[in-house]
């Protein structure tokens, strides 16, 4: 089934874009590309990615663990650090690039995907990361977020979701829960929140994942997967702002309740959760339903099976909308599919234009059209 889909994808591709190179999530191949095919990948350590700048987040902030996870994963990718660029918007989270000893660009509020698009389009050899907050990506930068995702340009977007505006000291954000009391909503917010994953599916992102700051192991794995994906990818990370929105994820992410209230997605496996793996998710029409295996005749075979490679994102969308307390909160990779990337198609157009017309000649260009000579 899987290979058949790829085949179809490939055929279509070959007809539309005869020169487009087709990539699937073939990590080795991508890594060898990025390392310029170097036989022995560069040996780097976590320390190589640490800068001399003092980290300025509040003590206890969830951003620290995301930084740690990224710095841990980076050397494992085997990519020379000069080929890595971190681009951020504005917010506490967007300070991130200053702490990564790679190339970095701390841009303006909401616009990181736009800047990153220019960097990647200009030099597709670079591995380009976008660091953004919930306000940065979903409020002021909502438009760029959508369009970067729909273009399938290979940007690795890490969305730090603390459900608050941290840097401006505690106003509600587009992901703040309805009724939440904070600086700009003393009587509680009356804005319905947006689900970042729903938006990512709607925008046709080819990689959609979720993790959280308090689970470093899972977080590192997700960062690795995002790094390996070729195409537009977004990883939402639940991040605690212990100053302005402490405990935003309380109730489901504490160690003792986590297993019962969260669900770790695994590709090709049924949606099962609970300390003793006794619970699962079944579909009733298009509505998910929490069931207990063994009760009322429910067996594992009745459960929804997760397919992160499904070409059609509808099931992932349904899973992505499950929220606590009605449902367990899903974590992991919701979607990971392949299609031609923007940068490859762009490179391809340049190459085919050169093939068809020859490399541009300035002489010819300025002398084109109707010309005449005055003696």
């Amino acid at each position: 089934m899987l290979s058949q889909r790829f085949l179809v994808g490939e055929c279509l591709l070959m007809t539309c874009f005869p020169k487009t190179r087709v990539y699937f999530n073939d990590e080795k191949r991508i890594m060898s590309e990025l390392t310029n095919g170097a036989a022995t990948p560069v040996k780097l350590t976590r320390k190589d990615f640490v800068t001399d700048q003092e980290v300025r987040w509040c003590p206890g902030c969830g951003d620290y663990s995301i930084l740690a996870a990224v710095q841990k994963v980076m050397p494992e990718l085997g990519i020379p650090k000069e080929k890595i660029v971190f681009i951020s918007g504005i917010g506490c989270s967007s300070r991130f690039p200053y702490y990564m000893n790679t190339y970095g660009f701390h841009t303006i509020h909401g616009r990181a995907p736009a800047l990153a698009t220019g960097v990647k389009a200009a030099n597709p050899d670079l591995q380009v990361w976008v660091i953004t907050g919930d306000g940065d990506s979903l409020s002021i930068g909502g438009n760029h977020f959508i369009h970067a995702l729909r273009r399938n340009i290979n940007l690795k977007i890490v969305l730090f979701n603390n459900r608050i505006y941290g840097l401006t000291k505690g106003q509600y954000s587009p992901t703040s829960e309805l009724g939440k009391k904070n600086k700009s909503a003393p009587m509680g917010t009356i804005d319905y929140p947006i689900n970042p994953l729903s938006l990512a599916f709607a925008a046709e992102a080819t990689f959609v994942g979720r993790s959280m700051d308090t689970d470093p192991k899972h977080l590192s794995t997700m960062v690795e997967k995002l790094a390996a994906h070729k195409g537009s990818g977004v990883l939402e990370v639940y991040q605690n702002c212990n100053i302005f929105n402490d405990g935003a994820f309380k109730g489901f992410n504490e160690r003792d309740v986590r297993d019962d209230r969260m669900l770790y997605l695994e590709h090709g496996k049924p949606l099962v959760f609970g300390k003793d793996k006794s619970k699962g998710i079944r579909l009733k029409g298009v509505t998910p339903e929490v069931v207990t295996i063994g009760e009322n005749g429910v067996t594992v075979d009745d459960l929804l099976v997760h397919d992160e490679n499904a070409p059609e994102p509808s099931l992932s969308y349904i899973i992505g909308r499950m929220e606590y307390p009605e449902y367990p909160v899903p974590m992991g990779i919701f979607r990971s599919v392949s299609k031609p990337t923007y940068e490859d198609m762009l490179t391809n157009q340049v190459e085919s234009a050169v093939a068809a017309k020859g490399a541009g000649s300035l002489e010819k260009l300025i002398n084109s059209g109707e010309t005449w000579t005055i003696n």
Partner: protein, 618 residues
């Protein structure tokens, strides 16, 4: 009854020699007036006239047929002498329908030639144009030399044997008008025949129909007794060289391709469609074989964001828009100023504020380019003065941006963007070498360590081993580029960024004087008013008046000698298509009591109105 032979008619027609003629073709936006005008222009240029054109598009793409808002016009001035404007008032108006007559007649010179397509003067069209009675019958046009030609029916008659559907036959009528005018002004049809065959190569029946109709128009004028005289406009004394006709937007596009090539770096263009800048996007997207990458962004903010990203990555980052788009780009321009990356922002100005007059011209974004950002946020500003000059100024913009590592505004406008003129094609060898050098040396590298002469910081692009560094919009520590909030450092850096832009003066030529180095009046202009100002001053000088002119192509910083020049005249007059923006800058910077002469009608200055204004001070 004695039969009149063809020869009799031809021999009976007189030929008169004229120096300069201004024609306006006007019709419905679906009537193909831009093609007609464009063809007349190319042919006139090829046979050696000097030319200048002014297309006038309606804001609506397809306003209802026959309506006043749907009228599209194309004016061109052709001459046997050196000309610089499309002419104040047309001497000839071709009106394809009543609406075109209604909107354009007020501009036609008294006694001018008026050719109308009588077939379109029916009750319905007259009503749409708001005529109570038919102007071509009621005697109201007696002040003009009226020629009534059934253009539509003659076109259909010429295509009697054509298999084309009626609608397509009808669409050929602009070529009938073109044929008439070719006869009237004694132009050859061959260049247009060639153009039509190239253009409709895949549809020979369409090509043939257009050519047939053009010939029919030509022969009609030649053989009927309607026209008794035709005119010759001789060759102009044009500087020897190889020429092509070029619009400002074309020259802008190829100028930036050239500029990037001269630096040795690929061009990246991020843009969001907007009139009158979109043609630059269209043109650049055709030239991917130059390594040009065009990106149609989701909005103007993303457009400039992508260009800044591309510059950071080592491309020549270019973004283009019109005034409303510049407003959206402001914050990002500030980012480019702070991060000191090369960037060019094209603003093809149009009438404003807000959506304003999208298809009309204005020069009212000068202060927006100069100051339209938070804080002290200086950028370089250049402005081409004619369609052909766009090529050179595009290269200049790239030069200043890359040499000084700074954003540079390129202020064109709707008039030069769509207007055209013969452009002397430069030799490649005459173009400057703008090769850029990326920093690669790791020893002693600091992102904000500067070149002593230009104050430019190094361009160290991602991918370069050992130069990993971070930049951003937060204030930078001098030299290290680290985030820094110290009061003295900020004061220093604000001044330094201003000083860096000021130093661009080192690479800006002195302003030239047209006329005498001292005298009664200096007319100072910038941008697209060059042609009208120079023509007005030339006319007055021919009358022995003490008036000179100077034209600014660099507006920030100003040329070094500008202060001296301003002091050398009793009065400085600054004509602008805005309410006095350059005048404000000149008064502020040089304490000169300059006289502002402004007009904001969405149209270029008329030479006559400039002449009248200048006379007040002579």
């Amino acid at each position: 009854m004695s039969a009149t032979t063809l020869e009799d008619v031809i021999s009976s027609k007189q030929v008169e020699e004229l120096e300069t003629v201004t024609i306006r073709f006007a019709g419905d936006s679906g009537d193909g007036m831009q093609v007609t005008g464009g063809q007349f222009t190319s042919t006139s240029a090829i046979i050696g006239n000097d030319i200048s054109t002014l297309p006038d598009f309606p804001a609506e793409i397809r306003a209802p047929a026959g309506s006043l808002p749907g009228v599209s016009g194309y004016q061109l001035n052709f001459s046997s002498r050196d000309i610089r404007t499309p002419g104040d008032e047309p001497q000839v108006l071709v009106a394809m329908n009543p609406a075109a007559l209604k909107t354009n007649l007020p501009d036609l010179e008294p006694g001018g030639i008026l050719v109308v397509n009588t077939d379109e003067f029916n009750a319905n069209n007259l009503k749409k144009a708001g005529y109570a009675s038919n102007p071509i019958e009621d005697g109201s046009l007696t002040g003009y030399r009226l020629f009534k030609v059934p253009i539509t029916s003659n076109t259909l008659k010429a295509l009697e044997n054509s298999a084309l559907p009626f609608k397509q036959q009808d669409r050929c009528k602009n070529f009938y008008a073109l044929g008439l005018m070719y006869w009237l002004y004694d132009r050859p049809m061959e260049p247009t025949v060639k153009w039509v065959n190239d253009k409709f190569g895949s549809k020979p029946e369409v090509a043939d129909a257009n050519i047939q109709v053009m010939r029919a128009g030509f022969n009609y004028a030649d053989t009927t007794e309607l026209f008794t005289t035709h005119y010759k406009v001789g060759k102009a004394k044009i500087k020897p060289g190889k020429y092509r006709n070029i619009t400002g937007n074309e020259a802008t596009a190829i100028g930036f391709i050239a500029g990037a090539q001269l630096t040795g770096r690929p061009l990246f263009y991020g843009s969001y469609p907007i009139t009158p800048a979109s043609d630059i996007l269209h043109e650049l997207s055709k030239h991917k074989n130059f390594g040009v990458k065009t990106f149609q962004a989701e909005d103007e903010i993303a457009a400039i964001g992508s260009a800044i990203g591309a510059s950071f990555a080592g491309s020549i980052g270019l973004t283009g828009t019109s005034g409303p788009g510049v407003a959206l780009k402001s914050e990002a321009i500030g980012l480019a100023v702070m991060t000191e990356l090369p960037l060019v922002i094209i603003d093809v100005q149009r009438g404003g504020p807000s959506t304003g007059l999208p298809t009309k011209t204005e020069q009212a974004d000068l202060l927006q380019a100069m100051f339209g950002r938070n804080s002290d946020c200086p950028v370089g500003i250049v402005a081409p003065s004619t369609p052909g000059d766009c090529f050179e100024m595009a290269i200049e913009a790239v030069k200043l941006a890359t040499k000084y590592m700074a954003p540079v505004f390129y202020l064109s406008d709707g008039y030069i963007a769509n207007g055209s003129e013969p452009w002397e094609i430069p030799s490649i060898e005459s173009l400057p070498d703008l090769t850029v050098q990326f920093r690669t040396e790791t020893e002693g590298f600091f992102p904000y360590l500067r070149d002593e002469k230009t104050l430019a910081r190094p361009w160290a692009v991602p991918g370069t081993p050992g130069l990993e560094h971070r930049i951003g919009g937060i204030e930078k520590k001098h030299i290290t580029g680290n985030v820094n909030y110290e009061p003295d450092n900020h004061d220093f850096m604000v001044r330094l960024r201003a000083e860096k832009i000021q130093r661009m003066q080192q690479d800006i030529p002195d302003i030239e004087i047209f006329g005498d180095k001292t005298g009664k009046v200096l007319v100072l202009g910038w941008g697209s008013t060059y042609g009208a100002i120079t023509t007005a001053v030339e006319q007055l000088r021919d009358q022995g008046k003490s008036v000179s002119s100077a034209h600014l192509k660099y507006l920030n910083p100003f040329p070094k000698n500008l202060g001296e020049v301003l002091k050398s005249y009793e009065t400085v007059i600054i004509p602008e298509l805005n309410l006095g923006q350059l005048a404000m800058l000149i008064r502020a910077q040089f304490l000169v009591d300059a006289v502002s002469f402004s007009q904001v009608k969405g149209k270029p200055f008329k030479v006559s109105s400039l002449v009248n204004k200048i006379k007040e001070f002579l």
